[in-house]
Amino acid sequence: MTVWPVVLLLTFLRGPVSAGQITGVVVDADTRAPVAGARVVLTATDPAASTAMVTLTDAQGSFHFAPASPGTYRVRVGGDGYLPLADAVSIVVVTDAAMKPLRLALTRASAIAGRVLTEFGDAAPAVIVRALAGDRTVAEARTNDLGDYRLFGLAPGEYRVAAERYAGPRVEGERYVVPTPPCPDCPGEGQFMRSVSSVTAGGEFVDPYLLLGQTHPTVYYAGTLDASTAAPVIVMAGADVGGIDLRLIAVRAN
């Protein structure tokens, strides 16, 4: 006959609604404005239970789920541009009791942006840039033709920012091996192989970095090849940290 908020983040609005229904509103933690189009996920807390319901908030930030059977449920929220609210609240639904609407507040996600340059100071396109929390990649982006990148959806914290050129071609014995990057329209990441003699027979193009014996190892902000000396990028909630620029470094390949 009662509703127990198990986690204190849960706040209630006034006014009862019909029994067994879970309703609520999603707001911006900072401005208190309603968040439209947020994804609200309802799952039973029993990890083996294979029931899940998903709904989107309307223009007023409101959502509701159809009456759920009695049990303990977990509510999580995700919104574009916001940090996901995972394990936000757990609630017990009791069929014949009126339940107050939930009020869920989302915090704006942060971003890190910058530019990657070649060893000559020119824009470096198609470089993979990652935000690392510890050794875990939490965001990844690819630079454009201006060398610009933008890592987004970040929680407040300290990150290392790393830039890496996708591996170039190599020679393995009699084979010229060209790694092919992942792409939404390809069957998969892989490599393309030809015999060296079929390439040289017609004087065909071979990757100049391979001929120069150069490679570009992963470079960490603020310009080191040694991950342990990377400068941490400190990101506050909802911040947009710009100017995290990196310059690639060519070294002799082993």
Partner: protein, 559 residues
């Protein structure tokens, strides 16, 4: 000891020049449009006929200058590569043609060369949904090409929007592009599984989707409401036929190519697959849109045996629904076109064996291939899902396709790459001429009289191309475009590139009326686009080519 070292060094000096006396080569890199220097390009000297240890690479300086000082004598192709430019090759004007090798002699310095590079273009814009910036939307630049008189689109570049809805497509060669936007499909719940679309990579086992059991822990806050987004083509249409074709020139930065995406209404197709062959098992049922798009286009269901099928989440449009067996002694097929603008129920698909299609090739009225190597190819007319493939033609001219699934096919006679000795005079299938139309294969109706009539009386064209100063122009495309009404076959277009004397020999032409163009910028493919032809109509020279004849033309190179 020092004396000994000097002696050894002296011996080295005496011996080495006699053995390998390196040649040197220098030059610079410049933009092909403005002539401005291109700094820091990587230059590759590729020795024709190798070995790889004779290849060299250097980096050009800030003014585009470069020098090789240790080239083994021989012929070299010289390439330049740099971010923001198409790969350039010395002596090449068109991206589709070859460059000119440079000869390097022992101990000599070659004359300075200029390698030109074409800057690439970019397309940028913003995507929103319901008035808000939309992140994680795939935007694609689709290169527009005409093949056999029909537009085809292929992905030239892709980019995902960031949290501000911005995207930028880059590294685009000059050309004509259609731009599409489609939100990345969010994880969705399918029965008792969570299906998460992914970009195939080694890290995820090259899968385009990852399936996990539906448990509370596996459901993420990315999981979206079930829904399907149609691809939006610039400017704001879901109909690819009405998409704008953007003319992108070298170095263009086209911004403001903006999109608004929205969920579409979806429908299902349900019905039953039956078969007359009892052992049929392992059945695939698919729905493919007749107009190919950048949507995850083909929806496929696997059935263990004949029975009910359900294809759901289909956006409105015309689909080809088809089924085939994947196991069993002989493949069975069925396909049918379906208009989907509401839920379609009760569709009956009856699997049947394919059809045998056999015929003969004759050359100049004589059955057989005249000692040539020849194949015949069948490809699906619409949509291009299953190409049947190719079969060899026997010396006596006989060829046969077994077990062809019913439907419409385009037919092509395939000769070795350099062979321009024949043109197709007639194609008769089941008593009708199909020279400019697909053949129609009906279930259970074998055809044995498919006649392909070839003719060796080809025409040729000799062109001399001069530039503005009346000097011979090298590396210029000379292309003969067939008259309207005969443009439905790409094999009627023939071309060649001028040599250093400005001459091009175009051969293998079917007799008839042609318009001839000389072009320094557009590739052969581009001339099959009716818009390109219309734009350059006044630059063409009309010629009539007769059997076995040759025409000489003097043309002005046009950009």
């Amino acid at each position: 000891m020092p004396a000994l070292s000097v002696a050894w060094f002296g011996a080295f000096l005496l011996v080495v020049p006699a053995l390998i006396a390196p040649g040197t080569l220098h030059g610079r890199v410049a933009r092909d449009d403005t002539g401005a220097p291109v700094p820091h390009a990587r230059i590759v000297a590729a020795k024709v006929g190798g070995p790889l240890s004779d290849y060299r690479a250097v980096v050009a300086d800030a003014t585009g200058g470069f020098q090789f000082i240790d080239l083994a004598p021989g012929r070299y192709r010289i390439y330049a590569e740099r971010e923001g430019y198409l790969r350039g090759e010395y002596g090449r004007r068109l991206s589709s043609s070859l460059g000119t090798p440079v000869s390097v002699a022992a101990g000599q310095t070659s004359a300075a060369i200029v390698v030109t590079m074409t800057p690439t273009a970019a397309i940028a814009g913003h995507v929103d949904e319901e008035g808000q910036s939309a992140a994680h939307v795939w935007v694609r630049a689709l290169k527009s090409r005409f093949v056999d008189g029909r537009r085809t689109l292929s992905v030239a570049a892709y980019a995902a929007t960031d949290d501000r809805g911005g995207y930028r497509l880059f590294d685009l060669p000059p050309g004509r592009y259609v731009v599409s936007a489609i939100p990345q499909t969010r994880p969705r719940i399918e029965n008792s599984e969570i299906v998460t679309p992914t970009v195939p990579s080694r890290a995820n086992g090259n899968r385009s989707k990852v399936r996990m059991p539906l448990t509370a822990d596996n459901v993420s806050t990315m999981t979206g409401r079930p829904g399907v987004y149609p691809a939006i083509y610039y400017p704001s249409t879901t109909d690819v036929e009405r998409a704008a074709v953007l003319d992108i020139t070298a170095g263009d930065v086209r911004s403001g190519i903006d999109f608004t995406v929205a969920r579409g209404t979806v429908f299902h197709i349900r019905g039953r697959v039956t078969t007359t062959v009892a052992s049929a098992s392992g059945i695939i049922v698919s729905a493919a849109p007749v107009v190919m798009s950048t949507n995850p286009a083909v929806l496929t269901r696997h059935l263990a045996a004949a029975g009910e099928f359900d294809l759901d989440g289909l956006l409105p449009g015309i689909y080809t629904v088809f089924a085939q067996t994947t196991t069993g002694p002989a493949q069975l097929f069925v396909s049918t076109p379906l208009q989907v603008d509401h839920d379609v129920d009760g569709v009956s698909l009856v699997l049947q064996p394919g059809t045998r299609i056999a015929g003969h090739v004759s050359v100049d009225g004589v059955p057989g291939v005249g000692g040539r190597s020849m194949h015949v190819g069948l490809t699906r007319h619409v949509p291009p899902i299953w190409g049947y493939g190719i079969v060899p033609v026997q010396p006596d001219g006989a060829f046969a396709f077994s077990n062809v699934s019913p439907g419409d096919y385009d037919v092509r006679v395939l000769l070795p790459r350099a062979d321009r000795s024949l043109w197709v005079e007639a194609e008769r299938f089941d008593g009708a001429s199909v020279l400019d139309s697909p053949i129609h294969v009906e279930p259970g109706r074998a055809v044995h009289d498919f006649d392909l009539v070839l003719n060796s009386a080809t025409a040729a064209l000799d062109a001399l191309v001069l530039d503005d100063r009346q000097q011979p122009a090298a590396g210029v495309l000379v292309i003969a475009v067939p008259e309207s009404g005969r443009r439905g076959r790409s094999d009627r277009y023939r071309w060649a590139v001028t040599d250093t004397t400005g001459r091009a020999h175009v051969e293998g032409l079917e007799p008839g009326e042609y318009t001839v163009f000389a072009s320094t910028r557009l590739n052969a493919d581009d001339w099959q686009d009716p818009d390109v032809l219309a734009r350059h109509a006044s630059e063409g020279h009309d010629v009539r080519l007769s059997d076995g004849g040759a025409v000489r033309l003097t043309l002005r190179a046009t950009p």
